[in-house]
């Protein structure tokens, strides 16, 4: 168990900088996810922590000790690879015991440790098998077993579930989380799947173009995205965005769109004339009866039932919007919606940064 501190971390390939001075403090025993679109630098960051990529600038410290120049094998880190990277010529037991054998651990002790890890992962009947005789999920578990058997200070996961089918992915997600809870080992988990990040993590780190956009607990990030990137990246279907300008109407502020829509901005203190983007999550648009005060009319384009909820795609003025309704929706040319209390997010359109209500900021 350990803390991991990343300070002003930079990665350059030749002259091209791909990671631009990242700061991140990971707490002891924390499960933290790095999430972002492909090419955002999340895997590079993970590989730098592992020692598989050189550090161009800044420092990485594990338990307060800088490890920039420490070889991977001396960092006491275990990594689960996206493609599992099992040694195909070794049995499951030998795969799992490989690291202990290298540390000159006596044979009976290796056997006991492997048996214990196998028990934990349900691999006991497969210990003598070769990797090629295992299913994808079993191989994934062996890769996990290889990581946990030597009780490292930090676990690194590089998209470990992306090669599994959807059902198995959900199952393994739960298993990994439960295992991490049980072992209490600091874990850094790279994924592009926001559901994985949201469900498993204590905190998530949203990366974009080699920079950290936001760090926070999953629900905090969801409820209060720091900027437009995070707002649209987290949440599915994505947050609806409506471009508007702040206008004062008497003593109340409102966001006016150029097609005549007016959204009240109660509690905000924004200079009049500011170009803003209003964000509303699909589930915060509530279907309402025609004539409800403040109800907005949406011209319906498409209704998509997913079973547990229904997605209504349509146009609010000239803005494309999605409404997520928890019940069933019958076909209609138009529907009326209201914005749920607290369901409105405001962003400065120039900087993309979140604007909070007066009492919060």
């Amino acid at each position: 168990m350990a803390t991991v501190d990343i300070h002003r971390l930079v990665k350059r390939y030749g002259t091209e900088e791909v990671i631009h001075g990242i700061d991140l403090a990971i707490r002891d025993g924390e499960f933290i996810s790095l999430i972002g679109a492909s090419g955002c630098g999340k895997s590079t960051l993970l590989r730098m922590i592992a020692g598989l990529e050189d550090i161009s600038g800044g420092t990485i410290s594990i338990d307060g000790r800088e490890v920039n120049d420490v070889a991977p094998k001396n960092r006491d880190i275990a990594m689960v690879f996206q493609n599992y990277a099992l040694y195909p010529h070794l049995s499951v037991a030998d795969n799992m015991g490989f690291s202990l054998k290298l540390r000159d651990v006596p044979k009976p002790e290796i056997k006991r440790a492997v048996a214990e890890a196998a028990e934990l992962l349900g691999l006991t009947p497969y210990l003598e098998r070769m990797p090629k005789a295992l299913s994808g999920g079993q191989r994934q578990r062996v890769a996990m077993g290889r990581a946990i058997v030597r009780k490292p200070r930090v676990f690194l996961f590089d998209e470990p579930l992306s090669n599994l089918d959807a059902k198995l992915r959900v199952q393994m997600r739960t298993e990994i989380k439960a295992l991490q809870r049980r072992l209490g080992t600091t874990s850094i988990y790279v994924t592009h799947d926001q559901i994985e990040a949201m469900t498993m993590s204590d905190r998530i780190v949203i990366l974009n173009g080699g920079r950290v956009e936001q760090v926070g607990a999953p629900l905090d990030v969801y409820d209060r995205p720091a900027n437009l990137f995070v707002a649209t990246f987290i949440g599915s279907p994505a947050m609806n965005l409506i471009e508007a300008t702040v206008r004062r109407d008497g003593d109340r502020l409102a966001a006016d769109t150029d097609d005549g829509l007016r959204l009240p901005l109660d509690g905000y203190e924004v200079a009049e004339g500011t170009a803003v983007t209003v964000g509303v999550r699909p589930e915060h648009l509530t279907l309402a009866e025609a004539g409800t005060p403040g109800a907005l009319a949406i011209a319906v384009d498409l209704i998509e039932p997913t079973g547990h909820e229904t997605h209504v795609f349509g146009r609010l003025g000239r803005h494309q919007v999605v409404v997520a309704h928890s019940g069933r929706v019958t076909e209609a040319g138009s529907v009326f919606v209201t914005i749920a209390p607290g369901g409105l997010h405001l962003f400065d359109r120039t900087s993309g940064q979140r604007i909070d209500t007066a009492e919060r900021s």
Binding site: A50, Y84, A85, Y87, P88, H89, L102, R139
Partner: protein, 290 residues
């Protein structure tokens, strides 16, 4: 019916092509075998596709203590033949082991280590394959004289290694390039060093490549004629390829003996290929990833 008409000419074509190919590669061996079993007198008559009368006298001359040739009891050539056989085995074997070991480690460096001029160096090594042997023969001879390596196993082995290493390096490099690096990374994180990873993870998985390099090198070395002709003047290192043509004497070409020796000389490489072939299995990497 239509499919039969359209596939029949194609199948006949394939069969003919295969037959030609087999005749092309096995024909000379068969002819050699027939010659080695034909009595000397018949060899001078009209050639025939199979021996009218089988004799083992050529083989007796090779392996027996004495034998009968043209009615006279003569000394057999076993001492020379056996010495040359040992020389062939030793030089080819040494060249194979040294080449494969250097290629296994060298190619890994060319793939996984980063050093300035890496790719240029590799191209330079492989480019030596394009240089014909005879262009370097004279300078090489001078070099070997000054190093006192003429007619020594060391000298011959060194020449073979320098000649066959580029091909083996090339082959092993592509084998390593095809191997997922995550396996090695997993081993490093598990606590293994570079050499340990290479020996315990990479090499076992590269067995097919190593065996292919070994077979190629051994066959190349076994069939060498020019190099030993120049660098192996005596039976200290002279291999079969150079000894066998010496059965041509001033007044008699011993076709039967040459062919009998040739047939025996085929056996070691055939055995080697048959033996190593079992390890040339595919699918060794199955189960490593995904």
């Amino acid at each position: 019916m239509r499919s039969l008409i359209s596939t029949l000419p194609r199948r006949i074509g394939t069969a003919v092509a295969v037959a030609l190919l087999v005749a092309w590669s096995l024909g000379p061996i068969y002819w050699s075998l027939v010659t080695s079993l034909t009595p000397p007198l018949h060899l001078l008559g009209t050639p025939s596709l199979w021996p009218r009368e089988i004799t083992f006298e050529h083989y007796a001359k090779l392996v027996g203590a004495t034998s009968v040739s043209q009615g006279n009891a003569v000394q057999s050539v076993w001492p020379q033949f056996s010495a040359a056989l040992v020389n062939s085995l030793v030089t080819s074997g040494l060249a194979t082991v040294v080449t494969v070991v250097i290629a296994a480690f060298g190619a890994y460096a060319f793939v996984r280590l980063e050093f300035p001029g890496r790719d240029l160096l590799f191209v330079a090594v492989v480019a030596t394959l394009a240089i014909p042997a005879y262009t370097v023969m004279i300078p090489l001879y001078r070099l070997m004289i000054s190093l006192k390596l003429i007619d020594t196993y060391t000298g011959i082995t060194l020449i073979y290694v320098s000649a066959f290493l580029p091909l083996a390096l090339w082959l092993m490099r592509s084998v390593y390039q095809a191997m997922p690096i995550s396996l090695e990374e997993a081993a490093w994180l598990d606590g293994a060093g570079r050499i340990y990873t290479l020996v315990h993870i990479v090499l076992p998985l590269s067995a097919p490549g190593l065996i292919a390099s070994a077979i190629l090198t051994f066959l190349n070395a076994w069939g060498q004629f020019m190099v030993p002709l120049v660098f192996s003047p005596t039976l200290a290192t002279k291999p079969l390829t150079v000894l066998i043509p010496e059965f041509v004497t001033r007044n008699y070409i011993d076709f039967g003996l040459m062919n009998a020796a040739g047939i025996l000389a085929i056996i070691p490489p055939v055995l080697l290929v048959l033996f190593l072939n079992r390890y040339l299995v595919s699918g060794l990497m199955a189960g490593a990833t995904k």
